[in-house]
């Protein structure tokens, strides 16, 4: 296992943080409250502060009572068994759930202090700051160059487009492999290259946060390793939230880990435990976390 960088984030005491003013649209359901430790990060170091976040798909309660802070320029991993709502939670962070007609979000998702679900917030403004990389690489059926330039163009980013494209491809550690083929179709690349192209595409918009929804699940181990190295590199400039099914991956790349689990009596996912990755993996406080990471269920 690679050495994790020392976390420079101070963690406030949990007890006090749990008792705080509820969110505007507070809507507690009758599902059993899980044992939950809330980590509070000082405001200037938190990118997201989630307060009583819940999600519904029609009648299905997918997620409830999520309270957690996501630190700046760190990698935060969301882990848990299938159906625990971790992808839903990720999609709450840049309002991608808006695209699902039946989806409804409650609670507050504060991004640098502003609730992204407030009236008057434009989801396009949110998404150009908070980029996303999907589970299945989804390059556009355009040239490599146009794939990367697309985001910059639609956002009206000024400057030399060639430089913007080159910088993004460098940042995504794929420049050397494609520099002579920029006019080739993005679909002609291998799966791992396609995924790094998608990361480059997200970086070209100059976002603040990058959300990754199981970015390696469709890739082979070597391509996976490259993406993981890249994720570590990117923390110098970006905040990353990654959903993963792979526990070793969470341990390798993340600074913080949140473990989610669907409630026993319902279908809605809860946050079971959240903390520095080293603690979650070496000294989990909750029995269910321990069972999950040691492979006893899920």
């Amino acid at each position: 296992m690679r050495q994790l960088p020392a976390s420079g984030v101070s963690i406030l005491d949990t007890e006090e943080a749990l008792i705080r003013t509820p969110g505007v649209e507070r809507n507690i359901t009758s599902a059993p409250a899980p044992a939950q430790e809330a980590i509070r990060i000082p405001p200037e170091e938190a990118v997201f502060r989630l307060k009583d976040v819940g999600a519904w798909y029609g009648q299905k309660h997918a997620l409830s009572d999520i309270n957690l802070d996501i630190p700046l320029k760190r990698v935060t991993a969301l882990i848990g068994p299938s159906g625990c709502g971790k992808s839903t939670l990720l999609r709450c962070l840049n309002r991608m759930n808006d695209l699902i007609p039946s989806a409804r979000i409650e609670g507050r998702v504060e991004y640098h202090g502003a609730n992204i679900y407030d009236r008057g917030v434009d989801p396009v403004e949110v998404r150009r700051r908070i980029g996303m990389v999907f589970q299945k690489p989804n390059p556009f059926p355009k040239s490599i160059y146009d794939n990367v330039a697309f985001g910059a163009r639609v956002n009206g980013i000024k400057g030399n487009m060639d430089e913007i494209v080159e910088r993004a491809l460098h940042q995504a550690a794929i420049w050397d492999e494609v520099k002579n083929d920029l006019r080739k179709s993005g679909l002609a690349l291998s799966g791992g290259q396609q995924q790094r192209l998608c990361i480059a595409r997200a970086l070209a918009v100059q976002p603040d946060v990058i959300l990754m929804d199981e970015p390696c699940s469709a890739l082979d181990p070597i391509a996976t390793l490259k993406i993981e190295d890249l994720i570590r590199e990117l923390t110098q400039d970006f905040t990353i939230v990654i959903v993963t099914h792979n526990m070793q991956q969470a341990a390798r790349v993340s600074d913080y880990t949140a473990f989610l689990l669907a409630a026993e009596h319902g279908l809605n996912g809860h946050l079971i435990e959240y903390g520095p990755t080293t603690e979650i993996f070496t000294n989990p406080r909750d029995r269910r976390t321990e069972d999950y990471i040691t492979g006893r269920f899920g």
């Binding site: 396009v124 059926p141 639609v154």
Partner: protein, 299 residues
């Protein structure tokens, strides 16, 4: 050691299933051949009857009471003019409707009703559109029995089927491309303009060409609004004059129909020759569509 070699010949159960499978293959081949054979026989019969009359003069001559001098010039020009009006009037409306329904419309009962009615409208007999065109364009808007009225009537007729084809093409664009664009901060329109439409264009083109081909062969609706069968002038002074839009007209299918019902035997060959002209026109349209489709399939 001498073990019994395993026998992999079809057992009774497998043999029975394979028999059904092989029979089904011939059954479906047969149904394909029915269509192909009918088409070949029809084409052969038409060409055999009409080839003697098919010539450049036949396309450029006006109708005449002498069968060997008669031509389909007004029909060809009328068809081109009417189709031009139809294309200009129907395509923007049809594509716009499809985009709205697939990309922008909320999911509610109103939209469901709209969708069902589009499917119903695509199945309405063309004569009904003719009556509608007669009432609205010819009478109410007083366009007389003009090219404009004819083109707009055909536009009404093909809009529903073009919308349905375009919707289908738009639905074929993978949702992951929309997600990808929107996650980069593109607006809905930017996602449609740069991702959805370029990928849907081949399918939309196919739908448009099929619809326009149907309009090119339409007779009933245009007879209803008064496309004449015997005309001896060109629409508007040449080469292109938009006054033509208000001229009276005929179209190829109506001329063909006119030749077919003519009691004089020698005019039957003219009807077949007219069909050859129409077929060449429609096949050219299909060729254009194929070229456009390939151009957009670069990646």
């Amino acid at each position: 050691m001498a073990s019994q070699p395993i026998i992999l010949r079809a057992s009774d159960a497998v043999a029975r299933r394979q028999l059904v499978s092989r029979l089904s293959r011939y059954l479906f081949l047969g149904s394909t051949l029915i269509g192909v054979c009918v088409l070949v026989v029809l084409a052969y019969d038409t060409i055999a009857t009409g080839a003697s009359r098919f010539s450049f003069d036949f396309i450029t001559n006006y109708p005449s009471r002498f069968s060997e001098k008669a031509g389909v010039r007004p029909g060809v020009l009328g068809t081109l003019w009417v189709l031009a009006v139809t294309v200009v009037a129907s395509i923007p409306v049809a594509i716009g409707t499809a985009i709205w329904i697939e990309e922008f419309a909320p999911r509610n009962r109103f939209i469901t009703i709209v969708k069902i009615n589009l499917a119903n409208l695509a199945g309405v007999p063309s004569i009904i559109y003719g009556i509608l065109g007669l009432a609205i364009f010819v009478r109410f808007y007083d366009m007389k029995q003009s090219i404009l009225a004819g083109g707009l009537t055909l536009a009404l007729m093909i809009i529903p089927m073009t919308v349905i084809a375009a919707q289908e093409a738009i639905r074929q664009v993978p949702p992951s491309l929309r997600d990808g664009a929107l996650a980069l901060g593109a607006t809905r329109w930017q996602s449609v303009r740069h991702n959805v439409l370029p990928n849907a264009i081949p399918g939309i083109m196919t739908g448009i060409i099929l619809a326009v081909s149907r309009a090119a062969g339409e007779t009933a609706a245009l007879i209803m609004i008064g496309g004449f069968t015997f005309i001896r002038f060109d629409p508007g002074p040449p080469p292109v004059n938009f006054d033509a839009l208000l001229d009276s007209f005929t179209v190829l299918p109506i001329q063909i129909y006119g030749y077919t019902i003519d009691s004089r035997r020698e005019f039957q060959a003219n009807a077949s020759a007219g069909i050859i002209v129409l077929m060449i026109g429609v096949m050219t349209l299909n060729l254009i569509a194929a070229v456009i489709r390939e151009r957009f399939r670069r990646y």
